[in-house]
Point group: C2
Chain length 196, copies 2
């Protein structure tokens, strides 16, 4: 809203863009924050003030608010698993329409580097907790612990979907991989008695 916040967002996108270019060209470990700052026309401490760490330059985005709104909108009409599945897919579609290429680049980098994978863990843990809290709030009959577990399972499915999406270079949209992961999840638990 204010000019300051707009500038901040603009600078962050600028730095992220410059960093992605450099990382893809030379590799994450071979690019110093100093080089990124120089390429983006800012000073190193400014990069840290915005992102906190080198890894978070890649991992940063602002999709979460839309995601939570989308899921909350589905909770009135659907059961927990279905609500979270449909809400997440709707959110994925919007992100896909806007920034598909950007998300692909970031995800590919993340899966190719252990340091980035590691730095992503606290963010995923946060997402798990937020999803769990949202479910607990909208489905009181579910119970806090089951809500927490459901959040974790959904995030695990999302991570696997992203992995498969990257593995085939994003040829099919991410939502399809996620839908498959969810179908697999249901069938695996439901057919448990049938096998062996």
């Amino acid at each position: 809203m204010t000019l300051r916040q707009d500038k901040r967002r603009w600078t962050m996108r600028e730095v992220q863009g410059a960093a992605l270019d450099l990382f893809e060209a030379r590799g994450f470990d071979a690019v110093s924050v100093e080089a990124i700052a120089a390429a983006a026309g800012v000073s190193p401490p400014t990069v840290y003030r915005h992102f906190g760490s080198k890894e978070r330059i890649v991992l940063w985005d602002d999709y979460d608010p839309g995601l939570f709104a989308e899921i909350a909108a589905q909770t009135r009409a659907l059961a927990p698993l279905a609500a979270i599945e449909h809400g997440l897919i709707a959110s994925l579609d919007r992100v896909y329409a806007d920034d598909a290429r950007l998300v692909l680049r970031r995800a590919r980098l993340m899966l190719s580097n252990p340091a980035l994978l590691a730095a992503n863990a606290p963010l995923m843990a946060e997402l798990c907790a937020a999803l769990g809290a949202l479910l607990d709030q909208h489905y009181p009959r579910l119970g806090t612990e089951r809500a927490e577990l459901l959040g974790a399972v959904v995030v695990a499915a999302l991570e696997i979907a992203i992995k498969h999406w990257i593995a085939e270079e994003g040829r099919r949209p991410l939502r399809e991989h996620f839908r498959e992961a969810f179908a697999d999840l249901r069938s695996v638990v439901l057919t448990e008695g049938v096998l062996t």
Copy 2:
């Protein structure tokens, strides 16, 4: 087996012990690797040669071989979810009998520090992959993708169990928390149609 390997293990336990003492006293971030090395009577590069990073001094253990053997032993008689559940619980029991206190200290530290939580992610990803491969091998009818997903779900349940275990200071054994997480997982998927 050889004297060298024995010495290596002994030194690693020594360094880990000294490090845990220091971390619990002053906090993970306030203890330098130099101080740990001095307390354990080795040089800093030796610490890195053994553990690779400061975080892995806390995260290192050698429980995985036992875990995989235990799960593989269950796959002939049980369905996938049940086999992995019982195998993991059996393995948990053995670890519990030997090193309950040590595991508790390490887990408490890990959950209290973002850097440790982050460094744990690649290890969990590796565990997911190994579990998935094991399931894929023993249950060909399951399919590679469902095996992979199952591994991820189990690890997510394990992480939640550890979290609850630490939250109540290890009063009830870890296996009980894990059993509850698994029961919740089944009930959440099975009762999906009933709620709202």
